[in-house]
């Protein structure tokens, strides 16, 4: 197998996805509601897969197997619990409620919804700004993943920056021409593709190792502690705080949160909800077990490389390795293009329009959005060249940042007594604190603050509690402003 053929498969796949996006663009209208929400007309299969593919990024495809390889297969349980069960419950509690409210009042973004409810442009901008802040590391994560993936696939013939640059280029091109309809279509293609490919890859590797039993035996011979549940990295504190911060964080991710507004009907949301745990498991089981089983093989994983491509290049034919990498790149692309598309709507609707130019034409807004996407992706690309941490670390930081928004938002959705000041305090204080903790490792003047305490408990979990307490406490101490209107969030009767 030549280098050219491997690269051809990867680039060919990206081109097909781009072509599909262009077709979608041709059938779409040019309104903002269509560009961002596909005119709220997304059906079950597409909604399910567009959410699925968006969740499944370099974090899942490379970060997950890497962690399972290094620390044991418990990662399957952590991710399955948070994504398959806790996120599904939040899908109902936050997602369905937002869908009901959004469908009544025509909201497109989280900030718009909250800004309208509390009559506050400041809150709207704050929520959008915070979201864009944490989106940055997550976009970066995809570029890091792509860079590492192509290094692994081509044995270094394509340098790290080359892979990262390739995906950045495709993402910008893609988002700027296609809009959500295109993103949703390719997400469905990519979701189905990823599911099939990861099972084929797992079957191939497992049969080379002599079956599931032999693969597990090999793993236990090399790492006996992998067999027992818990221990090592996986303390109760780690399991609980990772599951909670990521699951709540996911609901506040712009690309996921915006999905709550796009469903055609409640039926769509309901079907997706019930299918979710099994769908999630179908992907995580083979992907993470491959990582764990790899610990029992003689395969050497170099520093900074990902387990999955290394194992595949050892046990599967080169074309299959290339196809899996293409699937993973596709996952990263669909994650990134969804993120950037949602991010651009946060930027234009919640920051640019209210603060800079309220009367900008649709055409101008569309251009601002596209320039914003290109700038954001390019900056993230530059930052990704510094590789500030492992995939799991960078991703975990982003999830925790978003998780700090979840309790104030839930409070606003369910408690009419919530006030604007309560919201601003509940969002701003924990965010500022967490940002300080994260940046303390790079700021020269302050000591590096710990991210976890007492055996794996994430400080973000404590800050989440603080965000909820501040929202409720400050709301009780302050009176609702005149501009706020709790009835905007009422869904039970008029």
């Amino acid at each position: 197998m030549t280098l050219g053929l491997s690269l051809g498969i990867v680039v060919g796949y990206l081109v097909v996805a781009l072509a599909l996006g262009l077709v979608a663009y041709r059938v779409s209208e040019t309104t903002a509601e269509d560009y961002y929400l596909a005119s709220r007309s997304i059906g079950t299969l597409v909604l399910l897969f567009t959410t699925f593919a968006t969740l499944l990024s370099a974090f899942t495809f490379f970060g997950g197997p890497n962690l399972a390889y290094a620390a044991g297969p418990e990662w399957l349980v952590v991710m399955g619990t948070l994504d398959g069960v806790l996120f599904a419950v939040l899908w109902y509690v936050i997602g369905y409620k937002q869908w009901l409210i959004g469908a009544r009042n025509g909201y497109v973004t989280l900030g718009e919804m909250l800004g309208d409810r509390f009559g506050s442009t400041g809150l709207r901008a704050l929520v959008a700004g915070v979201s864009l802040l944490w989106l940055f590391p997550y976009v970066m994560l995809q570029q890091m993943g792509a860079g590492e993936a192509l290094v692994g696939l081509t044995d270094g013939a394509v340098p790290y920056w080359g892979g990262a640059a390739l995906i950045t280029g495709f993402i910008i091109l893609y988002v700027t021409v296609a809009g959500l309809r295109g993103v949703a279509w390719t997400d469905t293609l990519q979701g189905l593709f990823m599911l099939s490919v990861v099972w084929i890859a797992a079957a191939w590797v497992v049969s080379s190792l002599g079956g599931v039993g032999a693969a597990t035996e090999g793993m236990l011979a090399a790492r006996p502690e992998f067999g027992s549940f818990g221990g090592g990295t996986y303390t109760p504190g780690f399991i609980v705080s990772t599951a909670i911060t990521i699951a709540f964080g996911v609901t506040m991710f712009p690309q996921i949160n915006q999905r709550f507004f796009v469903a055609k009907s409640a039926e769509t949301l309901k079907r997706s909800f019930a299918l979710w745990p099994v769908l999630v498991l179908l992907l995580f089981l083979p992907a993470f077990m491959l990582g764990a089983w790899a610990a029992g093989t003689p395969v050497e994983v170099p520093d900074g490389a990902n387990v999955l491509p290394v194992v595949l290049s050892e046990y599967a034919p080169a074309w299959l390795a290339a196809v899996v990498i293409a699937g993973a790149m596709a996952a990263m692309m669909s994650s990134s293009d969804s993120m950037l598309l949602s991010g651009s709507s946060y930027f234009t609707r919640d920051l640019y329009r209210p603060l800079v130019d309220a009367n900008a034409s649709e055409r101008r807004e569309a251009w601002i959005a596209r320039i914003g996407v290109a700038t954001f992706a390019t900056l993230a690309f530059v930052a990704s060249l510094f590789r500030p941490g492992t995939l799991i670390e960078v991703g975990g930081t982003a999830f925790s940042g978003f998780a700090l928004l979840a309790l104030p938002v839930t409070c606003a959705l369910y408690w009419p007594r919530t006030t604007r000041t309560g919201m601003i305090a509940g969002v701003a204080v924990p965010q500022a604190t967490y940002l300080f903790v994260v940046l303390s490792s790079v700021l020269p003047l302050v000591p590096t603050l710990p991210r976890t305490v007492l055996g794996g408990w994430d400080v973000a979990l404590g800050l989440m509690a603080l965000s909820g307490a501040l929202t409720v406490g400050v709301s009780l101490l302050t009176a609702p402003t005149e501009e706020s209107d709790a009835s905007r969030f009422a869904v039970t009767g008029d």
Binding site: T81, A215, F229, F273, G493
Partner: protein, 95 residues
């Protein structure tokens, strides 16, 4: 009709602890430290796989029973095609 709705609403409350248990025990806590291998995989992985299957089954039941709508104060039948219709709301029975 209204009485039936209220009764349903009360039994719907059972979903709250049900969901709590589904989330809490998706992590196989009772098997902490257990290292038995069953059918090629550590037994606690089987627990997790079975548990997620159970979740899908119960989530489907939650949706089918109409608790999905009642939980948000919507009427199940009126919501079949679209929740945008204000007549799908419970009217005077606001909680």
């Amino acid at each position: 009709m209204l009485l039936l709705y209220m009764t349903r609403l009360r039994s719907d409350l059972l979903w709250v602890p049900t969901f709590a248990i589904l989330v809490a025990f998706a992590v196989p806590w009772p098997l902490w430290g257990v290292d038995r291998v069953v059918a090629g995989l550590p037994v606690w992985i089987w627990w997790h796989v079975a548990w997620l299957g159970l979740c899908t089954a119960l989530f489907a039941l939650f949706v089918r029973s109409g608790a999905w709508e009642r939980g948000m104060g919507q009427r199940p039948d009126a919501d079949a095609s679209s929740g945008r219709d204000p007549s799908g709301s419970v009217g005077g029975d606001r909680r």
